[in-house]
Symmetry: C2
Subunit: 461 residues, 2 copies
């Protein structure tokens, strides 16, 4: 997998057009990053090897913060520090499931974040299956009470990752819906697009309902269970899940600056998240994201000093509730933040640039787009999201942009044990760094003011 993009990456270098102008400084920096960046790869390799999984609120996330401070200082960033926060922490326990009758066999599953627990020796109940969360919502409580609810869905891979919003409701909400109808547990088909026996975890939310055991079957196991439900009147499962809520524990954000020359011009925030789910080593989610924005900022740090300060933030607790980004926004909302961008959709190539500037800044957006086209990046339209960690700033009126990554294979690995270093392609990672560098250089140095936009409300999925 690692080499198949190398030829494409080379082909993205500007062709020697007849009578072409010499490359601008930004173009030259961009192409150097594309050809030779090593900073991003080293962050991903070293963080996944030396820390590995780093579930928010645990000592592993704390070790990751110390690791991040050391690395960001070694890279020469200014003002490197941790900003502490507190979060309600959940940790995984035992997790096993077996079909007891009529087709005894083990099924592979994993608890969803926030799942309640069974007794230590598990529970046994009949399974009732639904093809969608809508079918579960429509079911009478009598059909569900005392049962283990299974919910399937039809998520398919898509380049833009669409489907996670709609089908994601199965993970986020089906357990609470089942609990309200009296289910003893809810198991879902993993929110994913692979065919490996690595279930996908992720947060489920209860909205005040008392948590019940909630887990995701790997997709091969979900399809096996569906076949059983089709051919038997009654399918009985024994389920053991023993996660625990630990109460409040520390989390935090790691901050590092590239100082600008003109504080009055406002600052730029870029980031990703340092925490990861506990099953994999968090290589694509989101060591790659923090590595990409950090490597781009490092190249600016090593070049001419930018007009605007660029702040790099490695957020804590993105996966299990967002305590890190909430704490940062609360502490800094008076800062003059004029532009934000987040990288948190894996390590595949950037294919689309979605600018979110005020109309007055269209010339700046056009300059960024022109610098990105040679990397194979199209100009897109739409509402900028800036991810879970920096979205609050966009909603509050900061300009921003999304550098959309190809998500076709993202949900093969997302939140699974399979989120490991080997899934990251070095050449695609460099293309990300080149794109972020070009965008940050142009925005940080823009001579014109960067205008605010009207605030907008949060859209809840």
């Amino acid at each position: 997998m690692k080499k198949i993009f190398a030829a494409l990456a080379l082909s993205l270098l500007p062709l020697p057009l007849v009578a072409a102008a010499p490359p601008s400084p930004v173009e030259r920096m961009r192409d150097e990053a594309l050809a030779g960046d090593k900073v991003a790869w080293d962050i991903v390799e070293d963080l996944t090897t030396e820390v590995g999984p780093r579930l928010a609120g645990t000592e592993a996330e704390a070790r990751a913060r110390q690791w991040a401070v050391k690395r960001l200082k070694a890279l020469g960033f200014h003002n490197v520090h941790i900003e502490d926060a507190t979060m309600a922490t959940w940790v995984r326990g035992a997790e096993t499931a077996e079909i007891v009758a009529p087709f005894p066999q083990r099924l592979v599953l994993t608890a969803l974040g926030g799942s309640g627990a069974t007794a230590a020796d598990g529970l046994t109940a009949d399974v009732v299956g639904f093809d969608s969360i809508d079918a579960l919502r429509a079911a009478p409580a009598d059909a569900v009470r005392g049962k283990i609810v299974f919910v399937g869905h039809a998520m398919q891979p898509n380049q833009d990752g669409s489907g996670y919003g709609y089908y994601g409701a199965v993970r986020r909400s089906a357990p609470a819906v089942g609990a309200q109808k009296g289910a003893v547990a809810v198991v879902i088909r993993s929110l994913g697009t692979d065919y490996h026996r690595n279930p996908h975890t992720g947060l489920t939310t209860w909205g005040g309902v008392t948590p019940i055991p909630a887990a995701a079957l790997s997709i091969p196991d979900a399809e096996n269970l569906q076949r059983m439900l089709k051919r038997a009147q009654r399918v009985t499962m024994h389920l053991t899940l023993t996660p625990r809520f630990l109460g409040d524990t520390p989390t935090g954000n790691v901050v590092a600056d590239v100082p600008g020359t003109d504080p009055a011009a406002g600052m730029i925030l870029v980031g990703g998240h340092l925490d990861s789910w506990d099953l994999g080593t968090g290589a694509i989610d989101d060591a790659s994201g923090v590595a990409i924005v950090t490597a781009a900022a490092k190249r600016i740090l090593d070049g001419p000093r930018p007009r605007r300060t660029i702040r790099v933030i490695w957020f804590g607790d993105e996966e299990t509730g967002g305590a890190g980004s909430r704490a940062y926004f609360a502490a800094h909302r008076q800062d003059n933040v004029v532009f934000v961008g987040e990288s948190d959709f894996g390590a595949d190539r950037v294919w689309k640039f979605v600018p979110g500037f005020a109309e007055a800044n269209k010339p700046l957006a056009d300059r960024v787009a022109a610098a990105l086209f040679p990397l194979g990046i199209n100009l897109g339209r739409g509402e900028v999201e800036a991810g879970a960690d920096l979205g609050a700033w966009v909603r509050a009126g900061a300009a921003g942009a999304d550098l959309a990554q190809d998500g076709t294979r993202y949900f093969d690995y997302h939140h699974t044990p399979d989120d490991t270093l080997d899934k990251v392609d070095p050449a695609r990672l460099r293309q990300n760094v080149a794109a972020w560098l070009a965008m940050l250089r142009l925005v940080a140095d823009a001579p014109e003011p960067i205008a605010k936009l009207p605030p907008r409300p949060e859209r809840r999925p």
Copy 2:
């Protein structure tokens, strides 16, 4: 995955050549199987759903035998029965590993068949790494004593599955080599070619050495451990493996016949194995194999009665020692077996026909080759193996043939939790049935005698 072969399968149907002869009965039967066989798919789907994993010597394998008798009787085979055998049985227990220092994180592994056990609370020791079994063999005992030995290798995917023999020594022999040098445990890089966190189990052999704990890391975990060993003087692992030897328990073979018209012409044995490793549902290893030969034999059962009896055998205990095939050979060695063939290399397409006939039967081999060419099957040369279950008959002098399946992706799934129904492509499965049907029809009905060959010794890998 399931649909990508459909177009190819259709393209394998004979082209309407100008002035072509009408298809022979064998060609017509072959093309009907290619276009429409359902028997093989149903066996794979039903066995993996209704029985699932069926480790040799366990009650799951016993359930599988009952399932097989019922299915083979329902298909109309004659003389369906179980031939009992006894085996020494090993079952998996807990299996976990964590790096304790300097980079604490969990690693994913699975015990090798025949592994010894740690204490219930595991053992802790430093890891010493070797890039090959040869490097381990060359190491002084002082470098190994009291350590957990890690052994890597360089297995790559190949169409013919070569590499399993050579690199397979890491799994079969490295634990015994480590034990002899005083290692407290041996963990290997899984014998496999995937990049998923599903470790590959498989039998390890001790040759009289007292078993020690022996396990295989998933390939991403093996590479992570290798990175740790490169960057730290000392890497300490905590390892827990609690498998057990159960002593002697029952296994057995399930036998079913298509009776021939001429007992004096000798009989044909075809088979695969019913048992599977315990991690997956044994879809490609070897539900597909027994399904392919059974579906081919079923089409002969439903057509003109063959000259020679075709016996289909679903062997027990192929994976963990071969008690089933040994028992069958011992009980039947006086039978007049003139031809054998085994399907035990997954569910991908047949790409090569390797005939193993006496020189006098070259015309028969040529007729079979001619019937297989339109399925995209080349004529190969070499020693026929006929697999672990029927190889003894070839070595004893029976004619035989290998219908070699494409093994490029076989070692992505082999002996892992990922050996599940979704890995089987229905169109490729049908191509296998068509090939076996054509071969069996021609060999069973051959008017000439099928000659014996000189016996040859077993080659030990």
